[in-house]
């Protein structure tokens, strides 16, 4: 048991982080190289200020027409994405691991808050699942991979939540939590979770086209 724990939280974690960061960099660089080779005009039209203008509107809740049209979705999606990123980084028990391994430390969130955030992520996944199953316009374009992605994202938070509360099979839960977290990290660059990396680029490009050429708002 201890051996397994040492392995998944040691070398396997190393591998997961390396693949995640390396994979994202690889995807990003190869996309930029491809653009440079075949669609160099993209760089000509990219505008820092208009790109940023568009991104800022879209990462601000209710700042766009479409966010305003879907108030529930907007609240859920913002709460979900913020929790998804913030909770794992500022969870005390994660920071402790970084401290042990690298002697790095930063302020932690109160456990109760981090716990709530985990619940928000899980609830968000359920919300998205129900949307996929129930709304015809979403269901029509849903593929099997969309469910897999939802499961990949939900797993570390479900297991983490259970491990934290130590309700069932604590040691197994911790190991399941670590492995599922690592699966998610590895999945980021190679599944549609890569929208994390690519969406600022696509948004910035559309923002640039709208700002500079079309002289209209894209939100």
């Amino acid at each position: 048991m201890v051996d397994v724990y040492t392995f998944v939280s040691g070398p396997l974690a190393w591998a997961a982080f390396t693949i995640c960061i390396g994979g994202c960099l690889y995807r990003l660089i190869s996309l930029i190289v491809l653009a440079y080779k075949k669609e160099r005009f993209i760089f000509t039209y990219m505008s820092f200020s208009y790109g940023l203008r568009s991104i800022v509107h879209w990462i601000t809740p209710f700042a766009t027409e479409n966010w305003r049209r879907h108030p529930v979705l907007t609240v859920v999606t913002f709460a979900f994405h913020i929790s998804l990123v913030i909770a794992p980084i500022f969870l005390l028990s994660h920071i402790v691991l970084w401290e042990e391994a690298w002697d790095l430390r930063w302020p932690a969130l109160p456990d109760a808050l981090a716990d709530t955030m985990a619940v928000i992520v899980i609830a968000g996944c359920i919300f998205f699942l129900v949307r996929r199953l129930k709304l015809p316009e979403v269901q029509f374009v849903t593929t099997a991979s969309d469910y897999v992605i939802l499961a990949i994202v939900a797993a570390p938070f479900v297991t983490g939540f259970l491990a934290y509360h130590q309700w069932v099979a604590y040691p197994y839960m911790v190991i399941a939590h670590i492995i599922s977290g690592e699966v998610m990290l590895v999945a980021i660059p190679f599944t549609r979770l890569s929208h994390m990396v690519f969406s600022p680029l696509t948004r910035a490009y559309m923002g640039s086209e709208f700002g500079k050429v079309r002289m209209a708002r894209d939100w």
């Binding site: 996309l31 930029i32 491809l34 653009a35 080779k37 075949k38 669609e39 005009f41 993209i42 000509t44 039209y45 568009s54 879209w58 027409e65 479409n66 049209r69 879907h70 979705l73 199953l133 709304l135 015809p136 316009e137 979403v138 269901q139 029509f140 374009v141 849903t142 593929t143 969309d146 549609r192 890569s194 929208h195 690519f198 969406s199 680029l201 696509t202 948004r203 490009y205 559309m206 923002g207 709208f210 050429v213 079309r214 002289m215 209209a216 708002r217 894209d218 939100w219």
Partner: protein, 448 residues
């Protein structure tokens, strides 16, 4: 969880598509699809396809979707699923029947209006994806008949309507003579080198709507504009090749247009009230030729009238007294930011302007643009049924008192005409030039 009902409308028969696909087999299709996807697309398409999280949030942007009781087949992403995704998934090995459906969807169920790019959180450009599908269809030779015919006309005559070389100056002379009845000194200056403005129009104007050239000549004359029109090819600024995916032809057309302006050494090109031509000259054609922005300044009619009114070069004797509502054409408002200027012009020439909702860059498309109306009579009902939401929008403007609908774009004009007629909206449709011509101060009016 049920698969939504199939689109109920029966798809129109189209000779161009039917004959086109009859010559295809899976191998040939595979070759063309992979050729286009590998050879002609790059980072954009890759990022769009891989970033799309299948959330459906773009759906409500699309008038087809809204008008078909939210049938997901008509949502922007739904149309991509039925066309490009499938081609990618099957690595191009799709059937001729599939190509037929894809051709109908890409050419007649998307106006490339880019409204959905304002609704997708990631700014995914569905219109661009649809244009890739059209490019594939073009390379497969299965483009709808009517629009392909206009492309052929461009290729042979460098105008959209098979106007022959002698018919063009003849038409101008005819309109000049007509206008001289009103202003005896009026000229339509042909081939005047060094004029400030080259005025260019779309093919249908000399063919069916010569009075628009007449009106433009009167406006130019009264405003004292130093203008000219070419007597040669290059007078037509329209471009259906842009919409059939025939980029090479688009390049030829635009090169001819720009080179004609350069030969005449004009400072700017002023174009009539047309949306797609503006897109071609200002956004698409110039890029294909390697110009970041157009090599010669392009002034759309809206902006031109704005300048003339603002500088007092034309004066309005009596404002148009019927309440108007203003349609924002996608290609010049979402595509060229002319929303404010359009309103300035409307308010300068009309007593009362009633806004339709939504408006500006959020306005609903007319459903004629993007080459859809050019796919001809077989698809008239596709456009009309696909834009019930426009009729509703117009009805509500009418309820607020509007009697006249100003549509400063040829395609919008014709498309809205069909919608207004079919749904019995009862609005009179006009160009800005119609109203300016009727309300402006003209020499004989001052004499009288």
């Amino acid at each position: 969880m049920t698969e939504p009902a199939q689109q109920s409308e029966t798809k129109a028969q189209d000779k161009g598509i039917e004959v086109g696909i009859s010559k295809l087999d899976v191998e040939r299709i595979e070759k063309v699809v992979t050729g286009v996807l590998k050879g002609e697309t790059g980072a954009r398409l890759k990022a769009y396809v891989e970033t799309c999280i299948h959330c459906g949030l773009c759906s409500e942007a699309c008038h087809y979707y809204l008008s078909h009781d939210k049938d997901p087949h008509y949502s922007p992403v739904g149309k991509v699923k039925q066309t490009l995704w499938e081609m990618i998934r099957k690595k191009g090995r799709v059937s001729p029947e599939f190509i037929k459906t894809a051709a109908v969807i890409a050419h007649t169920e998307c106006n490339m209006c880019k409204r959905c790019a304002q609704y997708c959180p990631f700014g995914i450009d569905i219109a661009y994806i649809i244009s890739v599908v059209r490019r594939i269809i073009h390379r497969l030779g299965a483009t709808p008949l009517y629009i392909q015919d206009t492309a052929h006309s461009h290729s042979v005559t460098m105008n959209q309507m098979w106007v022959k070389a002698d018919e063009w100056p003849d038409t101008l002379q005819w309109q000049e003579e007509e206008a001289q009845a009103e202003i005896p000194t009026l000229r339509i200056p042909l081939e005047k080198e060094g004029a400030e403005v080259m005025y260019s129009v779309i093919g249908p104007e000399p063919k069916f709507q010569a009075q628009l050239i007449y009106q433009a000549a009167i406006i130019m004359d009264v405003a004292g504009v130093n203008w000219t029109m070419p007597a040669t090819i290059g007078w037509d600024n329209s471009d259906m090749a842009m919409y059939t995916g025939d980029n090479e032809l688009m390049g030829r057309i635009k090169r001819t247009h720009f080179e004609t302006a350069a030969r005449l050494k004009v400072k700017k090109i002023v174009m009539g009230e047309c949306g797609h031509a503006f897109r071609s000259v200002y956004d698409m054609g110039n890029r294909w030729l390697g110009w970041k922005m157009p090599p010669i300044r392009i002034v759309h009619a809206i902006e031109f009238y704005y300048d003339l009114l603002k500088e007092g070069r034309i004066k309005i004797v009596k404002k148009f007294d019927q309440p108007v509502t203003l349609h924002d054409p996608c290609n010049v408002v979402r595509g060229g930011g002319l929303g404010e200027k359009s309103r300035y012009v409307a308010n300068a020439i009309c007593e009362k302007v009633i806004e339709m909702v939504p408006n500006y860059e959020h306005n609903y498309c007319c459903c004629a643009g993007g080459g859809v109306i050019n796919c001809g009579p077989p698809y008239k009902m596709t456009r009309v049924n696909g834009n019930r939401v426009k009729a509703e929008q117009l009805f509500s403007a009418k309820t607020k008192g509007a009697k006249v609908l100003i549509a400063p774009c040829h395609n919008c004009h014709s498309g809205l005409h069909d919608i207004v007629h079919h749904y019995g909206v009862g609005l009179d449709i006009k160009f800005f030039a119609d109203i300016i011509y009727a309300c402006m101060e003209k020499p004989e009016a001052t004499e009288a």
